[in-house]
């Protein structure tokens, strides 16, 4: 009954079908970490959606999680910005370049109103990736950000404090990031159709990615 099963598979491909955890189909971009790809719905970061990353504090290595994505976006044929909205420190251009990130495509926005600036950047369509740091964010404004990512077809990342884990959030994906001895632990707080497991990553471990990335493993 080969034909029958293939019809069934075709049917199951239909986006209207909801089959629990693997049903939601979203366009994604690979994270560069095999274990993380396996755990995230669709196998990567959402192509057009907001991801919240909750960290105990800034500078614990959470940016390394996104480095493969930034490097991959730098090689896109059609250039778009990567914006950092109100980053806690100065992004260090030599280190970014070393990791294969195109420095010329980065813009930094210094502002007291990061959510507004982030919404503009997400919605404009001029940015491929927007990273935002906000101490406080109302669910309503997070929802605006989520809608803006869909409109601007943009990868949005919002870094927030651990305390906001208790609040509900309209973001497409929520991660809780903790550093460990050799890498980090990522707990999925919310994912559309994904797991709720925690994923251990070691910084040495990457999926098969461009050479430029594996060179820099020891660094940053």
């Amino acid at each position: 009954m080969a034909t029958g099963s293939s019809t069934l598979l075709e049917l199951l491909q239909h986006p209207a079908f909801w089959r629990g955890r693997s049903g939601a189909r979203v366009e994604t971009r690979p994270t560069g970490f095999a274990a993380l790809d396996a755990g995230l719905p669709g196998g990567g970061w959402p192509e057009a959606g907001l991801t919240e990353i909750l960290t105990p504090r800034h500078g614990l290595g959470e940016l390394r999680l996104l480095l493969p994505l930034l490097a991959q976006s730098s090689q896109a044929v059609t250039p778009r910005w990567t914006s950092g909205i109100a980053p806690p420190f100065e992004p260090y251009a030599p280190a970014l370049a070393e990791q294969g990130v195109a420095v010329a495509r980065q813009i930094v926005v210094r502002t007291e109103t990061p959510l507004w600036a982030m919404e503009q950047a997400l919605r404009s369509g001029a940015c491929a990736i927007v990273l935002g740091w906000a101490r406080r964010a109302q669910p309503r404004s997070v929802r605006r950000l989520q809608l803006a990512t869909e409109r601007g077809r943009c990868c949005g990342f919002l870094f927030r404090a651990l305390s906001s884990a208790r609040e509900s959030s309209p973001a497409m994906l929520r991660l809780l990031y903790e550093p460990t001895e050799r890498g980090c632990r990522v707990r999925l707080l919310k994912s559309r159709g994904g797991t709720r497991d925690s994923i251990e990553l070691a910084w040495g471990e990457r999926s098969a990615q461009p050479d430029s990335l594996s060179q820099g493993d020891g660094a940053a």
Binding site: P79, R80, Y92, V103, I107, V108, A126
Partner: protein, 541 residues
């Protein structure tokens, strides 16, 4: 004093001679004047047809505004009045009206002397912006006589009218129309007509009546020869030297040997004389009327809310877009002025200036940007009038928008990339948005720099410091570690950086990677020199 009187009497005699010779306006032409005295250099023969009439030569009319300084004053002035200007530390009178002149106040005297001569003198500062504005207004009016108009700052306007004579019915009619147009602007004028711009300027400055008209270039030298050299407005020092040589008129100057004249007074003085008599053509900067958009709206009631101001602004912006579209032009600057109800301690108006990175004409986009600017401005009082004025108009470069939205199916970010930056800067200020670039440097804090965001900038990797362990985050200033290494575990190091001795910013540091209690990896260093304190420079984010 004796010398001044002598000069004045000479000038009077000269003027009398000139007025005798120059023809009244309704006299038949060509103007017949006494044959010129032999001059050193003959004027080259102009292009003439078989009948001997000049055909293709230029003919310049000059409108000289002798009382422009006074005319530019606010109309509420009282008599007698003098305008003063600070010249080398002394307030000097530069213009006086007839009443003050009657009391003996002359241009050039100091303010103290003027006040001593006339106690009721009203002293005004000069208004150079208004003078210029009046002259530009006149220049725009003059464009209806001829397309070739040129300004001669500060107080004259030149018109090339050879081609316009037939249309306006001859020289007299043209000059009369020009005088009437000037008078309509409230300006006193002295006119002159001559084949070269400089000759016309020189003739106009004498203020002769009837209007001096020289149609034939052959006669030009003869008319100019008796004029005092002062009409050329040469520097006083040059005039004094010429006078000490006994040279007081243009004719006498023309008779001097060319080589010696150039050596004593410079090539440009000789060039001026050549241009005066038409031996060398003078190139003049043409005046072209500047175009801009200006609109105002007076709402029926006073506006105190930003949103209502924006609502009243919208029709003005729509007008602007239509105006620009018709001309296929766009703006890069827009000025919005909100007039306030007059009240104590409130400025008369609030001005918002919008500057754009790329040309724009879309009313919706401009409204969005103006709204951002306005949101940052606090209105001190209700608005009674809205005025919108564009900067210079720029040619519109049409762009084909992409079929896909940016990012959709790999669509490129075209206009959006600059629009986003403009929009962010409009609200957050110009310094709030910046790009990054690499600098080939070993000192970590100098290995990067702020750059103007440019997507098209070439990608380059730093020549120095490749494959070294560098943090993703850098602190603006290295911070002192208050407790030294307490609570930190050194993971790697040391990496010594010792450089920069050539520019005074030399560093001698040992860099380490350390981990703190929370698990963050820090980039710290210790100065090799005293006080050998530990400092934190970066975070491996």
């Amino acid at each position: 004093m004796a010398r001044r009187e002598r000069a004045a009497s000479e000038r009077r005699a000269l003027l009398a001679a000139l007025t005798q010779h120059s023809l009244p306006l309704d006299a038949p032409r060509p103007v017949s004047l006494p044959q010129p005295a032999p001059v050193l250099q003959r004027v080259p023969a102009p292009a003439a047809d078989s009948a001997g009439r000049v055909t293709a030569a230029e003919l310049w009319a000059v409108v000289h505004l002798p009382t422009l300084i006074l005319d530019a004053l606010p109309s509420s002035r009282q008599l007698p009045c003098a305008v003063v200007e600070l010249q080398s530390g002394v307030q000097r009178v530069i213009a006086v009206d007839a009443a003050a002149r009657a009391q003996g106040v002359m241009p050039g005297c100091s303010l103290a002397v003027a006040l001593a001569l006339c106690r009721s003198l009203e002293v005004r500062p000069r208004a150079p912006r208004r003078e210029r504005h009046l002259l530009l207004q006149l220049a725009e009016a003059a464009l209806s006589f001829t397309p070739r108009v040129s300004l001669d700052l500060p107080d004259a306007l030149l018109l090339e009218v050879r081609g316009s004579l037939a249309l306006f019915g001859g020289v007299e009619a043209l000059l009369a129309a020009l005088a009437a147009r000037t008078a309509a602007l409230g300006l006193t004028s002295q006119l002159a007509l001559a084949p070269t711009p400089r000759a016309a300027l020189a003739l106009s400055r004498l203020g002769m009546s009837p209007v001096p008209v020289v149609m034939n270039p052959e006669r030009l030298v003869g008319v100019l020869a008796p004029l005092p050299l002062a009409v050329l407005r040469w520097p006083a020092e040059r005039l004094a030297r010429l006078e000490s040589m006994g040279v007081r008129t243009i004719g006498e100057a023309l008779r001097l040997p060319r080589a010696g004249f150039a050596k004593r007074f410079g090539r440009d003085a000789l060039a001026t004389l050549d241009q005066l008599v038409g031996r060398v053509a003078e190139l003049r900067v043409p005046f072209s009327a500047r175009e801009w958009f200006r609109a105002r709206c007076e709402p029926a009631y006073e506006l105190s809310e930003h949103t209502t101001v924006l609502r009243y602004l919208q029709p003005l912006l729509d007008d602007l877009e239509r105006y620009l579209r018709r001309r296929q032009q766009a703006v890069t600057e827009l000025q919005l002025r909100l007039r306030h109800r007059a009240a104590m301690a409130v400025p008369a108006s609030t001005t918002v200036v919008l500057r754009l990175a790329a040309t724009q004409l879309d009313a919706a986009a401009l409204a969005a940007l103006l709204a951002e600017h306005l949101a940052r401005v606090e209105l001190p009082a209700p608005v009674i009038r809205i005025e919108l004025r564009s900067g210079a108009l720029q040619p519109l470069h049409a762009e084909t928008p992409s079929l896909w939205r940016a990012g959709e199916h790999g669509g490129a970010a075209g206009r959006e990339s600059t629009t986003l930056i403009e929009q962010l800067r409009a609200r957050l200020g110009p310094d709030a948005v910046y790009g990054l670039c690499l600098v080939p440097e070993h000192r970590p804090e100098k290995a990067w720099a702020i750059a103007e965001p440019d997507l098209a900038a070439p990608q380059s990797l730093p020549a120095v410091g490749r494959h070294l362990r560098r943090p993703l985050w850098l602190l603006r200033q290295p911070e002192w570690l208050q407790h030294g290494l307490q609570g930190l575990t050194l993971l790697e190091g040391p990496e010594c950086i010792e450089t920069g001795w050539w520019d005074g910013g030399d560093v001698t540091r040992d860099y380490y990677v350390a981990r703190d209690a929370a698990g963050a990896q820090l980039w710290i260093f210790r100065e090799r020199n005293a006080p050998r304190a530990w400092r934190l420079q970066g975070v491996f984010g």
